[in-house]
């Protein structure tokens, strides 16, 4: 609970200083993780799902949300290839499910992924298959973003028709 609120406090600060001002200035804000991370992580830690969603109701709804989906084994392999040790909280070691970091990571992140699947449906996130190469993923992402921006721009070009 405290963990959840601590993150929400940090998020509120960033939202008000780093996200809303550039949005008002017409800029594109790229957020590496958003409230959905909290929904998944906090629910896995046993916080009430609906409560977390209500807690974050002050967040701006993103125009577009991408979810990079990857199986546990792939993410573990990638992390292990780069780092010697898994981070304590990333592996959910605080939950005491296993004393082995890798095993704990598997258990914890497995549940986190289940939560994400729930969120994808609930909030309509665009899923990107993150197993493929970086180039391939980036191609998919660029297509999605380009399509979204074109749609927005197209809608913007015909304001005269709806003037009342």
């Amino acid at each position: 609970m405290t963990f959840s609120l601590l993150h929400a406090t940090d998020f509120a600060d960033r939202l008000l200083y780093k996200i809303i001002p550039p949005l008002k200035a017409g800029m594109i804000v790229l957020a590496d993780r958003y409230a959905y991370t909290a929904f998944a992580r906090d629910a896995t830690r046993g916080v009430d799902r609906q409560w977390v969603r209500e807690l974050y109701s002050f967040a701006v709804k993103p125009d577009m949300a991408l979810y990079f989906r990857v199986p546990i084994d792939v993410s573990l392999d990638r992390l292990m290839a780069r780092r010697v040790k898994l981070k304590f909280y990333e592996a959910g070691m605080d939950l005491g499910w296993s004393t082995n970091p890798v095993e704990s990571f598997r258990l914890f992140q497995g549940k986190v992924l289940d939560e994400y699947d729930r969120i994808v449906d609930e909030y309509g996130l665009s899923v990107v298959d993150a197993v493929g190469s970086i180039t391939e993923q980036q191609r998919v992402v660029r297509n999605l973003v380009a399509h979204h921006i074109e749609t927005v721009d197209a809608a913007r070009e015909i304001p005269s028709e709806q003037s009342a």
Partner: protein
């Protein structure tokens, strides 16, 4: 993001239970402890009353712990730091307080209640609701946020009028930036700001009385008179058969 029914505590919320959505991993069945909140605005005399109440309860043989707003070891330094800078937004402020409260609830209050202590809390969520309400934060959202709080068995509200309050505060430590609501920027004059801000706070507390079952105690009286009334009510609650 979603449309939920408002989770404000209804009149039937039994004391000692969660107001709204619980902490799922900390279920509250029956526990022997009691939670007693002493509320009231800045400088009304809460801490003096709590100290006296504590001594009296301990002499009677109760185990007592005290907890107070922003006193969690985890959050206190951060809150002090944030208050000392100019970067604090009201929303962040609310969440900092809530984090502090969650930490104390999980680590101090609930364990003590389960162990049979009388928990005396100097301020409770009503302070947060009043301060944020005055600053224009959505009241329904605040109540949902604090749904994980436990409804105290007793809530004493030390009620005072702004004139008496001003006299007391000036006689003791003087007016402070935050207690004067200077962050609301209603003006440069600390006296005017204090009066206006505390008036609003008192109204906000007043409007919560019924919703949260405040036991209103007239705080304009002497320390001894107030303490007598608190003891009478606490005794009647803890030892209903009479001693």
């Amino acid at each position: 993001m979603s449309n939920l029914p408002e989770l404000s505590p209804d009149a039937e919320t039994p004391a000692g239970k969660y107001y709204g959505r619980s902490i799922p991993y900390l279920p509250l069945e029956s526990y022997p402890g009691k939670l007693i909140a002493v509320e009231g605005t800045d400088g009304v005399g809460r801490s003096t009353q709590i100290q006296l109440l504590r001594e009296w309860l301990e002499v009677k043989g109760y185990g007592v712990i005290e907890t107070g707003w922003t006193r969690s070891p985890l959050m206190q330094p951060t809150i002090e730091l944030a208050k000392s800078s100019n970067t604090l937004n009201k929303l962040t402020f609310v969440l900092l307080y809530a984090t502090d409260f969650a930490d104390r609830l999980e680590k101090e209050i609930i364990p003590a209640l389960k162990a049979g202590f009388v928990v005396l809390t100097d301020r409770y969520i009503f302070t947060a609701l009043a301060r944020a309400g005055v600053r224009g934060v959505d009241r329904a959202w605040l109540r949902t946020l604090y749904g994980f709080a436990i409804a105290p068995h007793l809530v004493f509200y030390l009620k005072i009028d702004v004139d008496t309050l001003i006299g007391r505060v000036l006689e003791s430590r003087g007016m402070d930036f935050w207690e004067s609501g200077m962050d609301l920027k209603t003006g440069d004059d600390i006296y005017d700001s204090f009066r206006a801000y505390q008036n609003k706070l008192l109204r906000e507390y007043g409007s919560m009385g019924e919703e949260f079952h405040f036991r209103v105690v007239d705080a304009r009286r002497s320390v001894v008179q107030i303490q007598d009334e608190l003891r009478r009510q606490v005794a009647a609650f803890l030892e209903p058969t009479g001693t």
